[in-house]
């Protein structure tokens, strides 16, 4: 129906795209049908409705400022408040007999299950990370290991490449068109190629290979300068291209990829620490961790933060733990208690530099 929406959203997905919050239906849901909640990012809502085709379900669209679930949850736009507001005002409580709502797993940095229950008596379960897994999850009623983990496959990589290439290409291409029209198309093509290269190859390379690649980039910039044949253009290119390359290669991709760890001093300092004494085997951390860092120790009814190397410090485990058994700690043993993180959304993806004391 609206192919233009697909195209625009592919190119401008870094920008908010709101859709009307409220209650929607898939199929013919009744009083016992599942209730799923998501943010009001148009792309997500459309993909969710598509993923649920063939099911009978209620979909609650919460007001997240038109921002996607993970960013909105980390940035405070899809928090307990928005979930409570949506559940109370959309009218779903009059349509179903149960009070169980399935939230996207990636909403766990912001929407607190325990708090939602305290404030409006809805019981929160965190569903799978990916929409494609929803039918299998609804069928089985529980998540498999694969469903809990964020993936960054070729499709997501190309989508992120497009999301960066389109606005930057338009900006640089537009500027070039004003100054030197003949170069506009090559510039746009170069931006597109760069974006695809960065998101499909570059972030999977080791440090040494990245340096080689960067050197090759600078070398090719110099060759381009020679070919351009001196003059103002050559000087601009000679200075501009290496700068551009440096900017691109040192860019902080953590907002765009789930694989790039935190690059900021503030969040490198903090690690997830765990107090086994307080752990009571609730397994919320296991349920919400997007990198599946936790292992269940069923016999002792405890967990283990077994894969610290994968941790991206999103803080979902810290804020969700009903026993306050997890917190951030730095090398000197300074702690940030869960309450502080819950209150100030200090999930180290959001307000990174807030003084923890």
């Amino acid at each position: 129906m609206s192919w233009w929406r697909e195209v625009l959203q592919a190119g401008f997905r870094l920008f908010p795209w709101p859709t009307e919050p409220g209650l929607r239906t898939v199929g013919q849901p009744d009083a016992s049908s599942p209730v799923l909640l998501t943010g009001n990012y148009d792309l997500t809502v459309r993909r969710l409705m598509h993923a649920l085709k063939g099911q009978d379900a209620w979909v609650v669209v919460a007001p997240s400022g038109g921002i996607n679930v993970w960013c909105a949850a980390a940035g405070g736009h899809l928090s307990t408040h928005q979930v409570v507001t949506a559940l109370k005002t959309c009218g779903v409580a009059d349509r179903v007999q149960h009070r169980r709502v399935i939230l996207p797993q990636l909403a766990a940095t912001g929407a607190l299950a325990l708090d939602v229950f305290r404030r409006c008596r809805w019981k929160v379960t965190f569903g799978p990370v990916r929409l494609e897994d929803l039918p299998a999850y609804l069928e089985a009623g529980e998540k498999t290991d694969a469903m809990r983990r964020v993936q960054f496959g070729m499709r997501e990589r190309l989508e992120m490449a497009a999301a960066w290439a389109v606005p930057i290409g338009l900006l640089l291409g537009g500027l070039t068109l004003l100054l030197r029209p003949g170069w506009a198309l090559p510039v746009v093509a170069a931006v597109a190629a760069m974006a695809v290269a960065v998101f499909t190859v570059y972030d999977r390379l080791g440090r040494a290979r990245r340096l080689v690649l960067a050197a090759a980039g600078v070398a090719s910039a110099l060759v381009a300068t020679l070919l351009a044949g001196g003059g103002t253009a050559a000087i601009v290119v000679a200075i501009g291209l290496p700068l551009l390359l440096t900017a691109i290669l040192t860019f902080d991709y953590e907002g765009s990829t789930p694989t790039e760890g935190g690059s900021h001093f503030e969040e490198r300092r903090w690690r997830i620490a765990f107090d086994p004494e307080r752990c009571d085997g609730v397994y919320r951390c296991w349920e919400v961790c997007p990198e599946a860092c936790f292992e269940k120790l069923e016999a002792e009814r405890k967990v283990e933060h077994a894969h610290d190397e994968r941790c991206i410090r999103c803080g979902a485990c810290v804020v969700q733990c009903p026993k306050d058994a997890l917190f951030f700690e730095d090398a000197e043993g300074t702690r940030i208690e869960p309450e502080v993180i819950r209150r100030f959304k200090l999930n180290l993806l959001g307000q990174r530099s807030v003084d923890a004391s």
């Binding site: 209650l23 408040h81 005002t89 959309c90 009218g91 404030r119 907002g255 209150r343």
Partner: protein, 215 residues
Amino acid sequence: MSSLALMRWLEGSPQRYDAGMRLLTFGRVTRLHEAVIAAAARKPGDRVLEIGCGTGSVTARLVAAGAQVTALDQAPEMLEQAQARLPEAGVTWLEQTAAEIDRLPEAGFEAVVLSLCLSDMSASERVFVLREARRRLAPGGRVVVADEVRAPGLRGVLQRFWRVPQAALGWLLVGTISRPVPDLVGELRVAGLAVQAEERWLLGSLAVMVAEPER
């Protein structure tokens, strides 16, 4: 530019908020506040519920007018600024959403104030909140709404044009994009409230409405 900068804007900022609102309303926000106070705090001791108090600019005026204020906001960083502004005012501060006013006592307030917060809500949320606001009114009480509305007629067309740069500026300054409330009078009616008085500015796009329960 890095994604950190993007994140920062997404977080929004109470520091930018007041200045942003002044700029976005071409300075009319002060007159809007005055109209709200005149309608809400009619005599000293009036109990006023303020929904979405933000940084407390309306709250401070309500307190100055002698009202006994209960102010709520869902953003802890906004509430913190408001509290710092009015440390000794005896205001009851609540960190909660507008939709949770159904937990407050019924018939407990002479006025419920919603200043520049309805336009941040979805349609279903607005009707829910206005209905619950009506139930919180003591006999003779009123709901005072100040917000951006759709301007009538030709001026509405003009409004659509200036909305685009304004929305972009608003997103940069305040961190959210609000949309004018399409049919405020109609939504008030659905919530059982009838408009008794209204005042408008900026070609009719900024309105203060005083509504009372329909008989």
